[in-house]
């Protein structure tokens, strides 16, 4: 049974699946262990392209292995760079940009995404995404620095022009530290 409403990552996938189709160009701004990269590679299929970023070599290596195992490394470009450099590596429009903030699971918890660079990346994403496209952000408010970053993402979402429909989806019968989703759908 599909548990895409059971947690924030599931809900973010539901939103991405709604807007991404075979052949699209999309960005994974934060590879982490590669699960979102693999999910996006599945959505765009062999004719599409995924541009995936991480500052940690360890994350890129895990992602590369996962993609190889699933035979879809062919359509993915991995960049050893922070997501705030998004526009430099991906100059042309994309259908979707996915962010999964916080730290790499099972790794050094001091290596986290931070408000300033996340905001810079979101700003670039809002220019890169085409009409009918989407930016999806999974936010972890529970760790040190997570609250500040969450506030920054929400500020960005509230300030988006009406050419975007920005939604904040919180899991209300869980702890206030539960991950949640910010979605910015560009109107076509």
């Amino acid at each position: 049974m599909n548990d895409n409403m059971g947690n924030a990552v599931g809900l973010s996938h539901l939103f991405l699946r709604e807007r991404v189709k075979p052949g699209d160009r999309v960005v994974d701004a934060t590879c982490g262990n590669g699960h979102d990269t693999l999910f996006l590679a599945g959505l765009v299929e062999a004719e599409g392209a995924v541009f995936a970023f991480d500052v940690q070599e360890q994350a890129l290596e895990k992602t590369r292995l996962l993609l190889e195992e699933n035979k879809c490394l062919d359509r993915v470009q991995l960049f050893h760079a922070g997501h705030q450099e998004l526009a430099a590596y991906v100059p042309d429009p994309v259908q979707a940009v996915a962010f999964n903030l916080g730290y790499l699971p099972g790794s050094d918890k001091s290596c986290i995404t931070r408000a300033a660079t996340t905001l810079a990346a979101l700003e670039q994403a809002s220019y890169l995404v085409v009409s009918g496209g989407v930016i999806v952000v999974v936010i972890y408010p529970g760790h040190d620095g997570g609250g500040e970053e969450a506030a920054a993402v929400e500020y960005w979402a509230r300030s988006l022009p009406r050419s975007f429909s920005a939604w904040c989806s919180r899991q209300v019968n869980r702890s206030s530290a539960a991950p949640y989703v910010v979605l910015a759908a560009k109107v076509s």
Copy 2:
């Protein structure tokens, strides 16, 4: 282009579409002009069943006409009753219950859904819905009495047991009076 992220009704349809399939039994707790009833009738197809409620005869008549025009009245049962009587008319489990609160568009604005009866209906819905099923509520906080009803729905959602995953999705770059969505997905 699919504008299912452009407003609260669109988002509610995205959530319903994710969980409702041909052959399912579902409830439209508030027919109104029949748009949600028609949408649900399309999802469950000819082998499914939609149980649709409204306290206003005018709403049921509009819904009946819309379903006839679209050749899907066959799978819909219309009940001239308030949604707080849900469990009396639909004793057996259902896959989904949809609520679209507020008043009937183009009609008497004093005839609105109210916190007490809406809560009673939501309570019944949470017992009727099967594992893997969903309750979706579109909330209009802007009209007189809307704020109170919105607070009641959110209280209900926050109080749901962990067998539900309850989400509140707000459109953050619009007015605070903008309609929004509460979703309760029952874990399977």
